[in-house]
Symmetry: C2
Subunit: 144 residues, 2 copies
DNA sequence: TTAAGTGCAAAGGCTTTGCAGCATA
DNA sequence: TATGCTGCAAAGCCTTTGCACTTAA
């Protein structure tokens, strides 16, 4: 049985077959607009395709990462979140009270230059992770 | 049977009993000088005290973290590393070729101020993780 | 003495893998 | 049609937990 493919990702699959499952997953990651973890991705995928398995979710995430389609970020204490690659400069604020994750633009070129001149270290990937309280929670916390 | 305690950490245990196991583990983390993971910590601990269990290692790491004695960092793709808390400003460079982890001093006050004024976000913890090639590996890579 | 920690073993999550069947190109 | 993906179920890690015993203070 052939399924209608709702969105075409063949251009980015670099020779790897485009499948119903991969299209679904990539679409969901894109829709999620960052910060979706494997478990939630499986939950959403399963709600659209009951037969999908966690194995496929993990295999697809690994493939997407290898192909450079997504970024894997470790936020908070225990989770990996995945998102479609966008600006290399965009980083994360994680609220430790409500769990919200906020993107922020963060030019790191100064830091990259500094470690190159001081340590001879060539940066290929940069992650900044700031934890604390978002504006709402900072306010709530003040009232407590 | 009472063991001789080789180093006294009672001042930092904040009311929690000082045990042979906790002393051993804290000492090993200190000796490791940063960047030791739970598995390696257990391995080293077991070589000095055959009866120690992984449960104690994990329980102790959690306690030390709660007491603010150690920092937990997520480096590279999959590992958590623990280190004795030192300067809040010190961050990590991870070489993706040889796996070496280099500490570097990194003042983040500008960034902290910026997210506060732009997002109302109060930072309580900051992590910067730069991945790339250390000076030796950058050189080796050039020759390849 | 007693509250707290420890070891053991089992259980819990999350992630990976082997295999037979199925779909994509 | 042939390579490669998928689902299923089992296995593998790492980490946590329940329980009875032991220990620090």
């Amino acid at each position: 049985m052939r399924m209608r493919i709702s969105r075409n990702y063949s251009n980015v699959m670099q020779g790897h077959p485009q499948t119903r499952q991969r299209n679904l997953l990539l679409g969901l990651i894109r829709e999620a607009n960052g910060h979706i973890d494997a478990k939630e991705l499986f939950r959403r995928a399963a709600s659209k395709d009951k037969s999908i398995s966690t194995a496929t979710v993990y295999r697809s995430l690994n493939l997407f990462r290898e192909l450079g389609l997504i970024d894997e970020k470790r936020l908070g204490q225990a989770h990996c979140y995945y998102e479609i690659k966008r600006s290399p400069q965009h980083q994360h604020l994680a609220c430790s009270r409500c769990g919200k994750v906020i993107d922020f633009d963060c030019p790191l070129s100064e830091m990259v230059d500094k470690v190159k001149s001081e340590y001879g270290f060539i940066v290929t990937k940069a992650e900044v992770y700031l934890e604390g309280y978002c504006s709402e929670c900072a306010e709530e916390k003040g009232k407590e």
